[in-house]
Subunit: 375 residues, 4 copies
C-alpha cells in the first residue's frame, strides 16, 4: 500500500457491500483529498453470477468466487467483510495473517470465542480493524460523549436502551441465516442488541453482570425452498445490566416490535443531567442539564450541526438528518484515517469482542431463565 | 347511610385531601344526580390549626385531631385515607371494623403484610374499598383494555414501563416521610413503581418473578429542622419482570430522572399489535395494529373522546387533555357507583395488595443485588 | 354582596354551565379561603324540565325559565352567561344595568357592534367582566408573557397560530346554532379563531390589518328535526395578520381539520428567541433562546410547575397536564379575585371587543375574496 | 453521448458540487448497472486554485476557469449548474444551445423572466432538464401523491407549509450573495419558500393568487471583507395562497426562525383525510383518514419503506431516515433515467418556472404591503 491508494477486497455482495462500496468512494468528496484513495480491487461471492453482477453494480475492478484468493491478492490492503456472520471468523483470521487491514460488519462473530480468535489474530498481526457499530458515528454521540467527559451529567447512574424493529413481526418473513443460531449467533440480541451494548460501553463503560429474558415470538419459519424450520434464536430480549462502575440499566432488543420499524434510542442519566438519543431523530440530541437556567428542566433539543462530530464535513447548516448512509461514510473515514496514521480505529475488534462477551452473557442468562451472569 | 347522602371523613390534609374533596363534589355535576351525594362531614389532622384550616379550605363541616373519633362518627359512611403511608394500616383496619367504606391513597401500606391485614379486615367487614392508582382511570386505559380483550394485539409478550419524575433530583429537596423507609416503605419503586405495576396487572395480569436493581442517588438529605438523615429507600429502580402468563417486561421507577418531570408511560406489545400510553400525552392513546390497511405500521394516535371510558361524561369533543384532576373525579365516580350498587370497586384492596407484593419482591431483589424473587 | 358570599346566576345549561359551576366551587379548595364564596343561587333555561334538571345536577339552589328574573334577583351578584352566542348581548346589557358582575363565554357576541354595546353597558355600570378565553389562563402563557416582558425573545416579528379541530369534518354532524350565522356569528373563525386572536393580543398586541380566506367545506347540514340547511359561516379560515407594532402573522381556524381533534398551538418568534405553545402538550412550554449556552438552538421543553402562573396552587410538582377543567378553575379565581379587590379582570369585555373587531375584519375580508381590511 | 457513459461538467465548487458529484457516482451502486455511467469530465470555478482543488476532491478528470469552455466541451453531455443563482441563466441558456442536458440547482434564476428564457432555450433545444427541488424526491412525497391521486383525502381544501431555518438569525452571519437581491433574487422566500411552492404544486396544483408580508429582521450585515451592506431581500415571509382549484393555503419561509434549524413541513387537508410531512421526520409520513376503522382519527405514522418511492432501492427495511444526501441520489437517478429514456425529468425547467412565477408574485405582494397579486 502506498499513501495514495488502498486496495480493497469486498467479501460478500449484500446490502452492506453496497453501503461500504459507496462509503469508501464518498470519503474523498466529503473529507477532501488528504487520505489514501480506496481502490475497489475485487469482490467475492461463491456464486459466480452474483459475484460478476456485484462487481459491475458496485464498480469493483474484478470478481472471484474464492475469498481466499481475494485475501491473498497482493493488490489488496484492506479486507472488507460483509458476509453472513458465520464467515467472519475464517476470513478475518486469514486476512490478519496476510497482514491486511480489516473492516468487519457486526456482530463480530457467531460466538465470543470466535471473536476472541479474530481479535488475537488481528492484534498479533498489527493490522487496523474496524467493526460496523455504525450508530457510534452519529454526531449526536460525539456530543453525548463530550458532555459526559466534561462532567455535565454529573455522576452517571442509569442507562435504558431500546433497539426496536418490526422486521420479523410478520410470520411469513422467511427463515434465513439470521434466524439460525449456527449461522447468526443470537437473534435480536446479537443483531440489534449488540448496537445498544456498543453505545452503552462508549458512554458508560463495561458491563459486569447481566440478567436477560428472551422470547421467540414466531417459533417456526419457512425458508426460501419451502422447508419449515424451528427458529432457535431470540426475536425479543429484555435485560437488566450492571456496569463495572455501578451504573444500572435495562435494554430491549427486538425484531418483532410492532409500531417501531427501526428505532435505536436510549436515555443516559446522571446526577446533574440526562441525554436522550434516537437514531430516527438523527438531527438532534436531547439534553437536560441541572445547570440550565430556567426552571422546569425538561429536555432541550440540540439541533446537530457543524460543531458536532463529523457533521460539519457533510453540511454547513444544522438540523439535517444524518442517515445510515452518511454514518457509513463517517465510519469509512474513521477507518481510512486510522490506516493513514497507523493508529487504532474505533471501535476495533477488541472493543467488539467486549460487546460479544456481553451479548453472550445475556444469551446464557436467557437460556437459564434469567439467572445472573458475569460478563 | 341513605341513598341520597354519603358522609365522608377525610383523614389527612395534604395534596390528596384537596384533590379528594374536590373530586367527591364534582361527581354530581359531571355524572348527574343518580348517585348518593357525598357530604364532607369531618376532616382530621393531629395539628389542630391545620385541621381547622383544612376544614375551611376544603369545605368540610367539622374537624378533629382524632382519626379514631372520625372513623367512629356515626355520620361517617366513607373513610378517605390521605395520610402518609405509615398510617394507612391502622386507620383502614379500624374503618373496616367500624363498617365504613374506604378510599385509600396508594401505596396501600408500608409493607405488604400491613396491606394484607387491611385487605383481610375490609373483606371480613364487606365494605367497599378503592385505592388511588389513578392512571387506571385514564380513558386511554379503557381503550387499551378493550383492544387487549378483543384480541387486537394478538398474544401479548412484552411490557416496558417508565414512571420517571425528577422531584428529588435536587439534593436540596428536604428529607421527609417519603425518603424514610419506616414511614413510606419503598422510595421511587413504592411511590411510583406501584402505579406501573397496577397498570401492568390491569392489562397483562399477575407478575410471577422479578429482579430489580436500585440506586439511592442522593444518599443523605436534611429535614425541615436542619437535621441530616440517611435516605434508606430507593431513588431509582430498574427491574426485569416475568408475568404468570409468560409475558416479559422491564420497568423504571425514578424520582431523580432529570428531564422527565412526571411521566408515566408504557409500551405493551403482542404478536399482532402494540399500544403506547403516556400520561403526559393524555389526550391520545398510540396504537399500532397489524390489521391496519396501509404499509408501514407505525403507531397511530387515537385522539381520546366520548367513546373511551368516562371521557364523554366530561367532554363532548375528542382531544382534550385529561389531567390528574379529572382522573380523580373518575375515581370518585367509580367509588360512589360501587357503593351505590353494592359491588366491588376497582382497584380494590385485594388488587392493591397484589401490587404491594410485587413491589416488595422487587425491593427484596434489589436488597440482594438483583437476585430473582418470586412474587 | 358581602365579602363572604357571592350569589351567582347561571344563564344556560350546557357544557359550560357544568364547567363554570364546578370551577366556582373548586376555587376555594385550590386557592384557600380568602375569597368570597360563590353561592349558586339560580340557573336558567327556557325549558322548565331542563332548568330543573340542571339545578339538581350542578347543585344550584333554584331554577327559573326567565333570565330577566335571574338577572334582577337581589341575591344575585354575578351573572354567568353560558348560552348560545345569540343571547349574550341582551343578558349582559341587562346584567350590567342591574349592577351585576358578568362572566361571559366567548366569543363575546354575534357581532362586534353587539360586543361594543355590552362593553359600554358594563363600563358605564362599573361592573367586573370576564370573558372565557380560557387558554390565557394556561400557566405556560404566564411564562410566555414573562419571557416576552423580560425581552428574552428580543424584538418580536412573527406569530403563527393554529386552532385545529375536527368536530365538524363528518358531514353527518347536525346543523345547530353553531353553523348558523344569525345565532353564532362566525363559524370556525369566530368560535376557535377568537381564541387565537386573544392569545396573539396577549403576547404581541393589537392586530391592525388582516386578509382572510374561508371555506365552508360541508355546505349543507341537517338539523335535529331532519331539516336541511345551508351552512352560512366558515368551517376553515386562513388569515394573514399585521400587528400595530409591525409583527406579522398567520392563523388557521378550523373545525374540519382531520387528524387534529382539538389543538391550539402557536409559535411566537423574536430576534433572540421563540416560544412554541400547544394546549395538547399542556404540561410544557417550548422555548428557544439565543442566550442558551450550547450550540444548536432547538427548542427546549420547560416542564410547567409551581413557578409558572397559578400552577403551584394546583400541584407541588411539575409536569402535570393542565386541562381545560383546571384552566376554568384558574379563570374563576381570576374573576373572584378581581371582584374581591374591585379591579378589572383579564380578559374583560373591552379586550374581548378588540378580539371581536379583529375576527369581524377577517370575516369581512373573507367575504371579499381576501381583500385587506383594517381592524 | 453513448448509452454507457455520460460526460458531466460541474459548474461551481460549493456544497452542491460536492453533493451532485457523489450523487452521480452513487446512482449505479444503488440502482444497478442499467443506466449510462456518469463520467465527471470537468469542473469549473473562476478561481484557478479552487477549480483545481475541487477537481481533486470530487474526483473530476479536468478543471477550467471558463464555464463557456466546459459547456462547449464535446465530451460533456450534461451541464450541472451549482453556482450562485446569478449565473444560472447564462450557463443554462448556453448549455441548452449547445444541446447539453441540464441539472440546475434551485431557485431556477434570479428573476422569473430569466427562468423563462432558460426554459424556452431548453425546450427549443429539446434537452432534458432537472431542477433541484430535492424534497420532491422524498419517498413520503411519493406516498402522499399516491394518496391524493387515489382520492383517499377526498376533496383537498387546505395546504399550510413551513420552511423554517435559523441559518441567519445570528446578526454576525456575514453578508454574501444570498443576502443580495441582485445575485440571489428573493431571500428566504426564494431560497426556501420555492421548495414549499414546489411541494404544494406537486400535490395540489398551480397557485393563482398570493398575498405576502416580509420582514428583513437583520437589516445590515458585514461581508467577508468587513464592508457593511444593507440586506435587500427578505429574512422571513408569510403568505396567503389561493390555488387554481380553490384550495387555500398559508406558508412561512424563514431563515431566522429561532428553534428550527432546518425544517420543511406541511399539512395537506381534504374532506376525507389529511397528511403531515416533515423532512426532519424523514422516516415517516403522517396520515389521517376518515376511512380508518377506530374512533378518534388522529394522525398515524407510516414508517416509510420499500413500498414507497425509491426507498426500496436504498434499504430493505422500513423506518430509516432518508437524508438530503440520499434524496440527491434519487434526484440524480431521476435525471439519468430521463436522459436514458429520452423523456422529461421531474421537476423540469417548465415546472421550476411556475414556481418562480409564484415566488415572484409573493415578492411583488410583499413589496406592496401585502396587496394581492395574480401569479
Amino acid at each position: 500500500m502506498t499513501r495514495s491508494s488502498l486496495g480493497v477486497a469486498i467479501i460478500g455482495d449484500g446490502l452492506m457491500a453496497k453501503e461500504h462500496s459507496m462509503a469508501l468512494r464518498n470519503v474523498r468528496p466529503v473529507f477532501g483529498a488528504g487520505l489514501p484513495e480506496p481502490r475497489l480491487v475485487v469482490i467475492v461471492h461463491p456464486d459466480e453470477a452474483r459475484a460478476r453482477a456485484a462487481a459491475e453494480q458496485y464498480g469493483v475492478e474484478r470478481w472471484t468466487t474464492s475469498w481466499q484468493d481475494a485475501v491473498a491478492d497482493p493488490e489488496v490492503d484492506l479486507v472488507d467483510i460483509v458476509t453472513p456472520n458465520l464467515h467472519h471468523r475464517d476470513v478475518a483470521v486469514a486476512a490478519a495473517r496476510a497482514g491486511k487491514h480489516i473492516w468487519c460488519e457486526k456482530p463480530l462473530a457467531v460466538t465470543a470465542d470466535d471473536a476472541q480468535r479474530m481479535t488475537e489474530a488481528a492484534e498479533a498481526a498489527g493490522v487496523v480493524t474496524l467493526v460496523g457499530f455504525t450508530y457510534l458515528q452519529n454526531p449526536g454521540l460525539a456530543l453525548a460523549r463530550e458532555l459526559v467527559r466534561r462532567g455535565e451529567l454529573g455522576d452517571l447512574f442509569s442507562f435504558t436502551g431500546f433497539f426496536s424493529a418490526d422486521t420479523m413481526i410478520d410470520p411469513d418473513v422467511p427463515f434465513t441465516w439470521r434466524t439460525d443460531r449456527s449461522r447468526a449467533g443470537g437473534g435480536a440480541v446479537g443483531d440489534l442488541g449488540s448496537h445498544l451494548i456498543s453505545l452503552a460501553r462508549h458512554l458508560v463503560g463495561g458491563v459486569s453482570r447481566v440478567a436477560g429474558l428472551s422470547r421467540t415470538v414466531v417459533p417456526e419459519r419457512v425458508d426460501a425452498d419451502g422447508v419449515r424450520h424451528r427458529v432457535d434464536n431470540d426475536d425479543h430480549t429484555l435485560a437488566l445490566l450492571e456496569f463495572s462502575n455501578g451504573v444500572i440499566g435495562t435494554m430491549q432488543a427486538s425484531r418483532v416490535q410492532t409500531g417501531r420499524a427501526f428505532e435505536v434510542s436510549f436515555v443516559l442519566t446522571g446526577t446533574r443531567g440526562a441525554i436522550r438519543f434516537s437514531q430516527q431523530d438523527s438531527h438532534v440530541l436531547e439534553v437536560s442539564l441541572a445547570s440550565d437556567g430556567l426552571d422546569g428542566h425538561g429536555f432541550r433539543t440540540i439541533e446537530l450541526g457543524p460543531g458536532h462530530g463529523r457533521f460539519g464535513d457533510l453540511w454547513p447548516m444544522a438540523g439535517i438528518n444524518v442517515g445510515l448512509h452518511e454514518l457509513k461514510i463517517f465510519e469509512a473515514h474513521e477507518l481510512l484515517s486510522a490506516i493513514a496514521s497507523a493508529r487504532a480505529a474505533s471501535p476495533d475488534f477488541r472493543e467488539a469482542l467486549a460487546v460479544e462477551r456481553t451479548i453472550e452473557a445475556i444469551e446464557r442468562s436467557a437460556a437459564q431463565n434469567g439467572a445472573w451472569q458475569l460478563v
